[in-house]
């Protein structure tokens, strides 16, 4: 189902970002952030292109991409569900909510559902502790949840 | 090398020309990369986009054989921008004006035309080399193996002299000697025109000195170089050839001519394996390998270093020095040596540069000649203060194309060289499976547009012909070579040297133009 993200158009946008950042020191991180936005992930072909144009060894780029949780190697699901497991949320039992979402979407924590529709992540604290426990679906945020609310939310997507 | 390997790391700018350093001298290649990590600027001039080209600030993919034009072009820019070292020129050099006048007409635009690179890159390269406080030139056979090899080296020394990059740490003119003891062989006078320490055979005092040392009559008539001897053999002037530790049937140009020459003479070959050359021999003598004998090698930075025996030689093989000594005794020269240290001490007596070096002193760390006395620490950097000759001599040299170029039926330029895995004629490296897995067979690198024009696919067998012969080899379609240039590594029998020209030699040192050969390429039916 993964639609072909490695289009020429995307690589052109990547090229522009690299040209913009080439001179700057520590350019790799901003470029990787852009690449993650453009492609939805940073696969081998993209890392190779960045390595050639930015002059950073491929092994170093692979090390950086696999270090930070925001960068992914494979495309994620259409909807990325993030259940916050910050302490404030965890203490107000976010764990059962996470288990429920996993159960309903068929996506394991950190994985993507077989139909590629949902990716499920246990995210770090996103700073909305006033709404604990919190769940995000791409940009939308749902706060002050109980396990019962989960089916309603998942059904919406 | 005028300087030492360790200094490369502290250079501000490194100009690598005619050397695929990371493949031919890998550990020096690593030091160049360490220098770059510390911020050094790198200029690379080579017909192939070698691995180091990616790290270079300026990469000049020049046409083979056009190095003199490039050097003169860079000199032109350095003078034009006034970044030459005026005090150094005034105090330490001769004939600068003649040189300055010569390079006047080597404008970047004109040189760009000859070399096939952008004029702006020539300016950039010149600026980097000129403005650096410590700039080091590294070069190898890519500079010397031309019909005008010697003058090409002189064109590089002009650059070093005019910018004062001599006699200082991390500078200098540094030929990367290709083999483990080629420096030692030259030092020992295994050359037709000099005895040990480059003492000329035509100098009567030298002849007298050696005659006294060896109490024997000596000829002062300069002998033949290998190409001349090969020529002589094929014409019957040379009746006997004694070849030890070499495999001309693969390493020398024009293999067919070499075969003809060797077959006509009484041939003695002394080696560790039955090489292609040994198969033609009348007498083959089994020798010990480097791990089976004590002695010394001299590396590219003039450092005399110990070689030690680890295992016994197989069967009846003997160390080469034992064979040579025993043969001399059979021929009536009674001198006996019990070990190589005795030979070394004899060398020290007749070779000023080696006088201060002893086995004991180099037990831990080798010493770099010249080392005149036993308390002398050896010489890291040559030409300190003033050039050894008293004054650096500028040489106004012109770029002259090789006769191999622009030939009707052989329109493409073949250049030869090494790859990382094999060494010379694969006699030693070819015995390790991993090496053959990585680089077991011959190939020809062809530029994609040329391959397309000739409808040649990657991996296809093609026919390559030159006036000397033809070979069939596997095509490797790659951007590494330019449009009209092809590359074949010379390691493999029935390979590059079937095609190369053994006649067009450098007038001074008789080195063949192995880097430029006119060839034609045809798709096999």
């Amino acid at each position: 189902m993964a639609k072909n993200i490695l289009t020429e158009e995307n690589f052109l946008r990547l090229h522009k970002t690299i040209q913009l950042n080439r001179g700057k020191k520590g350019a790799l991180m901003p470029v990787l952030h852009e690449a993650q936005k453009i492609f939805g992930c940073i696969p081998l072909e993209v890392q190779k292109r960045i390595s050639e144009e930015l002059g950073v060894p491929l092994s170093e780029i692979y090390g950086v991409v696999t270090f930070y949780s925001q960068f992914t190697l494979e495309p994620r699901g259409e909807y990325v569900i993030g259940v916050c497991l910050g302490t404030a949320c965890y203490v107000k039992n976010a764990q059962p909510i996470l288990d429920k979402v996993a159960e309903l979407t068929g996506a394991s924590v950190g994985g993507t559902s077989p139909d590629g529709k949902f990716s499920l992540e246990a995210t770090r604290c996103i700073g909305a502790c006033g709404l604990a426990p919190v769940l995000t679906v791409n940009e939308d945020v749902y706060g002050r949840l109980v396990v019962g609310d989960v089916p309603g939310i998942v059904a919406k997507y | 090398m005028t300087n030492s390997i360790g200094e490369i790391i502290d250079a501000d700018a490194i100009f690598i020309t005619g050397s695929n350093t990371t493949e031919s001298h890998p550990v020096i290649g690593a030091k160049v990369k360490q220098a770059i990590n510390r911020g050094a600027k790198l200029i690379v001039a080579d017909p192939r986009e070698i691995e180091l080209a990616k790290d270079a600030d300026v990469f000049l993919q020049i046409k083979p054989g056009t190095s003199i034009a490039l050097s003169n072009g860079m000199a032109h820019v350095i003078l034009e921008e006034g970044i030459e070292d005026k005090e150094y020129i005034k105090a330490n050099t001769e004939e600068f004006d003649k040189f300055a006048k010569k390079v006047k007409d080597y404008t970047p635009e004109k040189v760009a035309e000859i070399c096939g690179v952008a004029a702006e890159d020539i300016r950039k390269a010149a600026r980097i080399y000129g403005e650096a406080s410590k700039a080091s030139i590294l070069y190898c056979m890519g500079i010397t193996q031309h019909h005008n090899g010697t003058e090409t080296v002189m064109s590089l020394s002009n650059l070093a002299l005019m910018t004062g990059n001599l006699g200082k740490e991390s500078t200098g003119l540094n030929p990367l000697r290709g083999q483990n003891n080629v420096q030692g062989a030259c030092d020992m006078g295994a050359l037709p025109n000099v005895l040990t320490g480059y003492q000329s055979v035509v100098n009567p005092e030298v002849i007298e000195k050696f005659e006294k040392a060896w109490n024997v009559k000596l000829s002062s008539k300069p002998g033949l170089t290998i190409p001349e001897a090969m020529h002589g053999a094929s014409h019957g002037d040379i009746k006997m050839l004694y070849i030890f530790g070499e495999n001309p049937m693969v390493s020398d140009p024009d293999t067919n001519h070499v075969r003809k020459a060797l077959s006509k003479t009484f041939l003695v070959v002394q080696d560790i394996f039955l090489t292609e050359t040994a198969e033609l021999a009348d007498v083959v003598l089994p020798a010990a390998s480097f791990a089976e004998k004590e002695g010394t090698f001299v590396n590219t930075e003039r450092r005399v270093q110990r070689v030690r025996k680890a295992v016994e030689a197989p069967g009846e093989a003997k160390p080469d020095w034992v064979i040579l000594m025993e043969l001399m005794n059979v021929l009536g020269y009674g001198k006996k040596y019990h070990n190589t240290e005795e030979i070394f001490n004899e060398i020290r007596e007749v070779t000023p540069q080696y006088a201060g070096i002893t086995y004991e002193r180099i037990a831990e760390v080798g010493i770099q000649w010249p080392c005149p006395t036993e308390d002398h620490p050896g010489t890291k950097v040559l030409h300190v203060g003033k050039p050894a000759r008293g004054a650096g001599l500028f040489k106004a040299v012109d770029y002259i194309p090789s006769s191999e170029e622009n030939k009707e039926e052989y329109p493409y330029i073949l250049t030869t060289g090494r790859n990382l895995y094999q060494y010379h004629t694969t006699t030693m490296t070819g015995k390790t499976d991993g090496i053959n897995e990585k680089a077991g067979e011959c190939y020809i690198e062809i530029n994609p547009s040329l391959a397309e024009a000739l409808n040649i696919k990657e991996g296809e067998i093609v026919k390559v012909t030159s006036p000397r012969g033809e070979i069939k080899t596997k095509a490797r379609v790659s951007e590494i070579v330019g449009e009209k240039v092809v590359f074949i590594p010379f390691h493999y029998a029935e390979g590059a040297n079937i095609l190369t020209n053994g006649e067009e030699l450098d007038q001074y040192v008789k080195i063949p133009g192995l880097k430029v050969t006119g060839v034609n390429i045809e798709k096999l039916a």
């Binding site: 092994s59 692979y62 | 360790g6 001298h25 020096i28 290649g29 690593a30 990590n37 290709g178 483990n180 003891n181 080629v182 062989a185 020992m188 050359l191 050696f210 060896w214 000596l218 002998g223 033949l224 001897a229 006997m240 004694y242 030890f244 530790g245 070499e246 001309p248 009484f266 394996f273 009348d282 007498v283 083959v284 003598l285 089994p286 480097f290 791990a291 001299v298 590396n299 590219t300 930075e301 110990r306 197989p314 009846e316 093989a317 160390p319 020095w321 040579l324 043969l327 001399m328 021929l331 020269y333 030979i343 080798g366 990382l420 895995y421 060494y423 015995k431 499976d433 090496i435 897995e437």
Partner: protein, 348 residues
């Protein structure tokens, strides 16, 4: 100069030098895994921790610069306990197969567990299980034995400049990998083996032809017989065969080698080595005695000298042979044969 105390011993040390350097200078041994004098100290393994009087934690000797009046204990109770715990933790994620592991006898982990009496791990839990990377013809990479000291990565990037391998992932799953775990053969690895030479355990090992134990071998220091760099190397010898080669930390190569120097030594004990003199009889090369061979050569030389003169003979010496041998070759041609027709392949 800084004065400090190590195990009660007064020590003088350069400003800016580390505790490890100061200790080594006075012969005090401090265990290390991830230290290499050529690399920027990165303090990953922590086995070199020492006790600093008044210090909050145990500083690592390899990274901490000396300071005036320091009072250091390198084998105090707390230090030994901490090292035992670190070894315990390493063993918890390391296969205990010293009986068949080729590194046995030369493995720093094995030596330190012996020194600090760490028989086995007291932890049980998840263990690494990566496939062994056999794709390189000269050496293999077994990530399950890796203790993540990082030296192979830093040698490959800081010294060799090839950047073939790097750290992948984070935390407990961290491992050394080629990009996308595609294997060494698909990486930029040039098989120089410099990583193999610095690996303190059996994670990176040459594919030796012959099985051998290090205690059965002796080493002979020599100079490499391939290119003109003149790398210093130790031949590892078992009975009469060379079974391995290690770089030497000395001028001019400072512990580096290349693929040929490190791995292409098979020619030495190769069966096809020439073992007896051969003389051509009726067009075929047949074995002969030395005396016979010498006589044939001597006769030829004398015959040609009288008929055509010494200059009809030419000798090619060898840039691969010893300095002393080149001297004798040109002496043979000049003093004995009587011609200057002697040259060698400086031109190739």
């Amino acid at each position: 100069m800084i004065t400090l105390k190590i195990n009660g011993l007064e020590v003088e040390a350069e400003e800016g030098s580390t505790i490890l350097e100061a200790a080594t200078k006075v012969g005090v041994k401090i265990p290390t895994f991830c230290h290499d004098p050529r690399l920027v100290p990165h303090g990953s393994c922590r086995i070199c921790v020492v006790e600093l009087e008044g210090g909050r934690n145990l500083p690592t000797a390899c990274t901490t610069p000396v300071a005036e009046g320091m009072n250091i204990q390198t084998e105090s109770k707390e230090v030994v306990e901490t090292r035992r715990e670190i070894l315990d933790l390493i063993l918890a994620n390391h296969p205990l197969d010293c009986l068949t592991c080729e590194k046995s006898g030369r493995c720093t982990l094995q030596d330190l567990c012996f020194k600090y009496d760490v028989k086995e791990t007291t932890h049980r839990g998840a263990k690494k299980c990566h496939p062994i990377d056999e794709s390189n013809p000269f050496y293999y990479s077994d990530q399950n034995k890796c203790i993540l000291c990082g030296k192979c990565v830093y040698v490959c990037s800081q010294l060799q400049g090839t950047n073939a391998i790097g750290f992948a992932e984070r935390g407990f799953p961290t491992h050394i990998a080629t990009p996308f775990n595609e294997g060494l053969a698909h990486s930029t690895c040039v098989s120089c083996g410099n990583c193999v030479s610095v690996c303190p355990v059996g994670a990176l090992m040459p594919k030796s032809k012959e099985k051998f134990r290090y205690w059965e071998t002796r080493t002979v220091r020599t100079t490499c017989s391939y290119c003109g760099v003149g790398c210093q190397m130790d031949l590892v010898v078992k009975e009469n065969s060379v079974v391995g080669i290690d770089p030497v930390m000395a001028v001019p190569n400072d512990g580096l080698l290349c693929v040929k120097g490190k791995f292409a030594f098979n020619f030495i004990n190769h069966p096809n080595r020439l073992k007896k003199p051969l003389v051509r009889k009726e067009g075929k090369l047949v074995e002969a005695t030395w005396e016979e061979a010498y006589q044939v050569i001597a006769d030829q030389i004398n015959e040609i000298k009288t008929k055509d003169g010494a200059d009809a003979i030419a000798g090619f010496s060898s840039a691969r042979a010893l300095t002393e041998e080149n001297y004798l070759m040109q002496k043979l041609m000049r003093a004995v044969v009587g011609t200057n027709n002697v040259d060698h392949c400086a031109r190739l």
